[in-house]
């Protein structure tokens, strides 16, 4: 069996969740990597939409920015940014919004704005981008991010994009059109919201990872499903495709450190 990194496990596990043929609104960084891996493996008919305007993008290398020329050149069509948000996202054409974040809470609300108080920030993050309306209007939301106590927090410093709010049927009562986050994939495990409380619950644990590691990397008392399973290890074909994609990307852009 081949060895793999925790990042590779996370990307592969996230890619597998994307249904073939889904229309997917993709954030840059980890979501874009996972969505393109899905397109090259289990979901060849997935339609990738990027907020800069490309619809049906099929990049051979991963974009460094959300508006890379590669996305336009490989797309079925390129529309304006207002059209993307008005007709395609708000119009209800997006099945899956694929997002990352700096912080997440137990109900999968997301922070990409600020760490610390808004007026005196400890760390100023880039901000909202397309995420608030993707989180609201996509039929489902998938989240991919590395797990640590700093990222998986008891209370968000700022709610940029809405998940299940304070749980239960809060989201439905607020009148949000989409179902909200349906899965969170990390480098340690896969979580899904509980059917009733909508609190994130560990459903599968990546091979070699312990429950203690997950508890240790979560800022609230994390719940485990009664029938937690082990995540299927990355298959040779998945790893081969992912590594080839990364190699092509590195060759095109130069190797990136900490690129998101």
């Amino acid at each position: 069996m081949s060895t793999y990194t925790t990042n590779e496990m996370m990307t592969v596990a996230a890619a597998r969740r994307l249904p073939d043929g889904a229309v997917c609104f993709v954030g840059i960084g980890l979501p874009s990597t996972a969505a393109n891996l899905a397109r090259l493996t289990s979901a060849p008919n997935v339609v990738l939409i990027y907020e800069s305007g490309p619809i049906g993008a099929k990049p051979t290398v991963l974009p460094l920015s959300i508006g890379d020329g590669e996305l336009a050149e490989t797309a079925d069509t390129v529309v304006s940014t207002p059209e993307i948000f008005r007709y395609w996202l708000q119009g209800g054409r997006v099945d899956v919004g694929f997002l990352g974040a700096a912080q997440i809470d137990r109900f999968a609300n997301l922070n990409t704005t600020v760490i610390g108080p808004y007026d005196a920030p400890k760390t100023r993050l880039p901000g909202a981008g397309g995420a608030p309306e993707i989180a609201g209007s996509a039929k489902e939301v998938f989240i991919i991010m590395r797990q640590s106590k700093r990222a998986f927090v008891d209370k968000l410093d700022f709610v940029t994009s809405v998940g299940h709010m304070d749980g239960g049927d809060a989201r439905q009562r607020a009148g949000l059109p989409g179902k909200g986050p349906q899965v969170v994939v990390t480098d340690l495990c896969v979580m899904e919201p509980d059917a009733v409380t909508h609190e994130l619950t560990v459903m599968s644990i990546h091979p070699g990872i312990t429950r203690e590691q997950i508890i240790e990397a979560t800022g609230w008392p994390i719940k485990f499903a009664a029938n937690v399973v082990e995540t299927l290890v990355p298959q040779a074909s998945e790893l081969e495709t992912l590594r080839a994609l990364q190699e092509r990307t590195d060759a095109a852009h130069g190797k990136q450190e900490g690129a998101e």
Binding site: S65, T81, F85, Y118, P121, P126, G127, P132, S137
Partner: protein, 287 residues
């Protein structure tokens, strides 16, 4: 009617201290040359608007040209932070910057409202988000037909919008293609429009539905080859990803930033001069 002139003339005649200025371009076609010229001419107190401030506004903010910023995503794409933006917000250097932050959908709708002559835009957004708590220009209304709660945002109405495009013809009609972002809306929302172009051609060879801005909505067209560098111009040159990476180290430090601005912008006459100095210093910064 579009005046074909130098970028120096366009910036000096059309952009004034205190103006609301939008320089748009979504990763693609970012009008960097025009941003430099605004710094070179020492414009002050600008109210800047742009979805993604990018390096162009990091430079303007760090050079002290701006007093406020309306935006929706303030990072260095694929690299990390915009350090000059952060320094202005967190430490008030070189002076405090008032920020009003929105989402992309909001900004895109706000430009559409501006281009449509409406005072505000309506969108389904922000429910459950803290953004309306820190930006009182984001408000909510009840739909008069269904009762649904919808968000509103004030239209963007710039005094001047600046964009970069691939081509203009000799009358000043402008053609752009590839990723178009909000440029058309930003141009039509503004009182005055400056367009820098890669090339001036005899005839725009464009199909019927191409994105063309007719000469009569444009104030000035300026021929500035490579004027979007380090962003890209589809069909002309690629994004200089290495410079986006190198900018991180330049912008992280106030002295390094000030020295870079001095050498590359203030000590050069125009964008051609910048490109010459930039070519000399590129190996140094990426080494």
């Amino acid at each position: 009617m579009a005046d074909i002139c130098s970028l120096r003339e366009a910036v000096s005649g059309l952009i004034h201290d205190g103006d609301t200025v939008a320089m748009e371009g979504f990763t693609h076609l970012i009008p960097h040359a025009a941003g430099h010229e605004v710094i070179r001419q020492g414009k002050r107190d600008l109210a800047l608007v742009r979805m993604t401030p990018d390096l162009i506004y990091d430079q303007l903010i760090g050079a002290g040209c701006a007093t406020s910023l309306r935006f929706s995503w303030g990072g260095n794409p694929g690299v990390g932070s915009l350090h000059r933006l952060r320094d202005a917000v967190e430490k008030g250097w070189p002076h405090p910057l008032a920020i009003r932050e929105h989402s992309h959908a909001d900004m895109a709708n706000a430009y559409v409202a501006g281009a449509s002559g409406l005072p505000f835009a309506v969108l389904r957004g922000y429910i459950g988000s803290d953004l309306p708590k820190v930006n009182d220009s984001i408000r909510f209304i009840d739909c008069p037909y269904t009762g649904e709660t919808l968000a509103t945002t004030p239209a963007v109405r710039p005094d001047v919008t600046v964009i970069h495009a691939q081509q203009a013809d000799r009358q000043g009609n402008v053609l752009l293609w590839g990723i178009l972002g909000v440029q058309k809306e930003a141009a039509l929302a503004a009182k005055k429009v400056i367009v820098t172009v890669e090339e001036i051609v005899d005839k725009l060879d464009a199909p019927a539905n191409a994105c063309i801005l007719p000469k009569w909505v444009i104030s000035a067209v300026c021929h500035v080859p490579r004027g979007a560098t380090p962003s890209y111009a589809h069909g002309y040159y690629e994004r200089d990803n290495r410079f986006y990476l190198a900018w991180d180290a330049i912008a992280r430090n106030r002295d390094a930033f000030t020295a870079w601005i001095q050498r590359h912008i203030l000590d050069t006459d125009d964008f051609e001069g910048f490109l010459r100095v930039h070519a000399e210093s590129q190996p140094e910064v990426s080494a």
